[in-house]
Amino acid sequence: MASIKLEGLRKTYPGNVQAVKGIDLDVADGEFVVLVGPSGCGKSTLLRMVAGLESVGEGTLHIGDRVVNDLEPAQRDIAMVFQNYALYPHMTVFDNLAYGLKNRGHQRDEIERRVQEAAKMLEIEELLPRKPRQLSGGQRQRVAMGRALVREPAAFLFDEPLSNLDAKLRVQMRVEIKQLQRRLQTTSLYVTHDQLEAMTLGDRLVVLNGGRIEQVGTPMEIYLRPASLFVATFIGSPAMNLFPVDYLRERGSGLLDDLPEGTDIVGIRPDDLHIQAPDKRHLIVESTLELFEAAGAESHLYVRLEGNDQPTVIRTAGQPPVTEGETLRFHVTREALHPFNRESGRRMGV
C-alpha cells in the first residue's frame, strides 16, 4: 500500500512533441483514481511514466515515501494490467501468475499458495493449467488481473484494460474491478478514454486534455460542476449542449441577469431540458423535432433551435408522446445553466 505523488511531471519526445505538460497529482493510499481523456491527451504516457516504462522527463515521482524517478519498473513495487493483457503465450496460466513471484525469489510453496489464492479470488482456478490461447477474452482479462494482484503490489496501474472486451463483458468486468479494488484497498491508477467507465470506477477523476489536467474531482463534482468547456462536453453522454448566451438572453426574461461576469456561452445538459414546465422560474426555448430516438428506458430528442447552428440533444425518461416534425417547447431552470467563457474555455463564477 502506498500513495502516489506526481510533482510537475513533464514528458517531451524528440521533435519537441510535448506529451505531458506539467502534471501535479496526489493519489492517496487506497484510492482509485481514473485518468480520463481523449486519445493523445497524454494519459497513457503518464501511466507509463509511473510504471517506469517511460523515463520521467522532468518533475518528481513518488511512490510511497520513495522518489522512484530513476528506479527500474521492477523496483517500483507496482503491477500493471495492459490493454492487450500481455499474457505470456507460451506459459500456462499458473506460470503466468507465478512468473513475477519466481523472479523475486519466493519459495515454491509460497508461490503455490499465493497463485491459488489469487486464482480463487478471480474464479480462474480451473484455468490454471491452460495456455492463454485457450482462453476467452474475459478469461484472459481475469488472468491479467490475477497476475497483477498475486504480487500484492503497492499500486495497480490499469491501461485501458476493458477496451478489448465486448459491451456486456465490459460492464461485468468493470463491476468486478471495482469490487476487487474495494476489497484489497490497493492504490489504483486507471487510464481510460471511456467517460462512463471513468465515472463509475473512480473515487476521483482526473480529466486530461492536451497533456494538461483540466479538472480533478469526484465523478459527481465533475459532472455537476465541470470546470471547463472541454470537461463539460467530454463527461456525460449525450454531450452537454452549448448555447451562445445572447441567444438565451432573448428568451430568458431576466433569468440570465445574474450569470457571472465574462459568461458568453452557456451549457445545458440533455437531461435539463424538460418538456414539462417546472414550478420554478425557467426559460423556454422552442424548436422543431428533427429526430426521435427511443432507447428503452430513455429517449433522445434531436432538435435544431432557430438561430442556433448547433444541434441540440434532449434526454427524457420513458417515451414522451411526440412526433418528428412537431414544434416543441423546452423548459430550463436557472440551476441547470453552466456558465463558460468561450475564449478561455473556463467556467465562470465560483
Binding site: A51, P89, H90, N103
Partner: protein, 294 residues
C-alpha cells in the same frame, strides 16, 4: 487457411499452364535423379566404355570406406558449426537492429547484402582474407602468436569454410529473426520487466521461447544449406583439403565422380544425400507445425 477455389474452363488449359514447370522438373530434376539411382547400381570404367551391374555393392563399399565415414563426420562438424555460428550471429544482429527505430531500415538493407553474394565469391572473399601469405587475418593472428595456415592445418581449414559459409547465411537468418522479434508484442517485454525479470532473464524466458518456431525453421534451413548449398564455398577455398579435412559429402560426390571418375560410387553418394534431404524435409514438415508451437 482458406483459399479461394477457381475453376478453369476446358480440359487442356490447366495442363498447358502447368506444363512448363512440369517439363523443367522432369528434365532437370526427375530424370537426373533417376539416372543417379540407376548408375548407383552400376560399375563403370573411367572411360565409359563398359558397365557392369553390381547391385547394392556401391553402397556396401561406401559404408565400409573410412574416407566416406570421415566425410560424414566432417559434414556433421561443418553443418553444426555453420548453423550455430550463422544463427547466433544473426540473432545478435537482429536484436541490435530491433532496438533501433529510425536507422532500422538502413541497417537491415546493409545486413542483407551478403545474401546476394554467390557462394563461390563468398569463398574467394574469405580465401583472400585468410590467405596464409597475403591475407590480413593471418597477419594479425601472427601478431597474437597464432600461425594460421589452412593449407596445412585441418582445423584452420574447417574454420575457414565455416566462416565463409556462415557469413553468407547470416543475412538470411537475420531477416527471419528480425521479423520474429518484431512480431513479439512490446507489452510482453514490458510486463516481464514489471514482473521483475532482468534483461537477460527476459530474453531467455520470454523472447527466446517465442522465437522457437523461427529458430527451428532456420535450423533446418541452415543444416540443409550447409550440407547441400556450400559446394561453391569449398571449391573456391580448400577443395576438400587438407587431407580430407573439409571434404563434405556434396563435395565428395563431385570429387569422386568428376575428378576420380568413379561414377558408380558418386551416384550412390548422391542417392544417400537425396535420402538425407527427404528425411530433413519430413522432419521440418512434421515438427514445425506441431512441436514448437505454443
Amino acid at each position: 487457411m482458406q483459399t479461394k477455389r477457381m475453376t478453369l474452363p476446358g480440359g487442356w488449359l490447366p495442363y498447358a499452364l502447368l506444363a512448363p514447370q512440369v517439363i523443367v522438373t522432369l528434365i532437370f530434376f526427375i530424370w537426373p535423379a533417376g539416372q543417379a539411382f540407376y548408375q548407383a547400381l552400376l560399375r563403370e570404367d573411367p572411360f565409359g566404355l563398359s558397365r557392369t551391374f553390381v547391385g547394392l555393392d556401391n553402397f556396401a563399399r561406401l559404408f565400409n570406406d573410412p574416407l566416406y565415414l570421415n566425410s560424414m563426420s566432417v559434414t556433421a562438424v561443418f553443418a553444426i558449426g555453420t548453423t550455430l555460428l550463422s544463427m547466433s550471429m544473426a540473432l545478435l544482429m537482429a536484436m541490435a537492429v530491433n532496438r533501433l527505430i529510425r536507422s532500422r531500415h538502413a541497417y537491415t538493407t546493409l545486413l542483407v547484402w551478403p545474401y546476394a553474394v554467390a557462394p563461390a565469391i563468398a569463398g574467394v572473399l574469405w580465401w583472400f582474407i585468410f590467405h596464409p601469405s597475403i591475407g590480413i587475418l593471418p597477419y594479425m593472428l601472427d601478431m597474437l602468436g597464432y600461425r594460421w595456415n589452412h593449407r596445412t592445418s585441418g582445423t584452420d581449414a574447417m574454420l575457414l569454410v565455416i566462416f565463409a559459409a556462415a557469413w553468407k547465411q547470416i543475412a538470411y537468418n537475420f531477416l527471419f529473426f528480425l521479423a520474429g522479434l518484431q512480431s513479439i508484442p512490446q507489452s510482453l517485454i514490458e510486463a516481464a520487466a514489471i514482473d521483475g525479470a532482468s534483461p537477460f532473464k527476459r530474453f531467455w524466458s520470454i523472447v527466446f521461447p517465442l522465437l522457437a518456431p523461427t529458430t527451428f525453421f532456420l535450423m533446418v534451413v541452415n543444416v540443409v544449406y550447409a550440407m547441400f548449398d556450400t559446394f561453391g564455398v569449398i571449391h573456391a577455398t580448400t577443395q576438400g583439403g587438407p587431407a580430407q579435412a573439409t571434404n563434405i559429402l556434396v563435395y565428395k560426390v563431385y570429387a569422386d565422380g568428376f575428378v576420380g571418375m568413379n561414377l558408380g560410387s558418386s551416384a550412390a553418394q548422391s542417392v544417400v544425400l537425396m535420402a538425407i534431404v527427404v528425411a530433413l524435409t519430413v522432419v521440418q514438415f512434421r515438427f514445425i507445425e506441431r512441436r514448437v508451437n505454443y
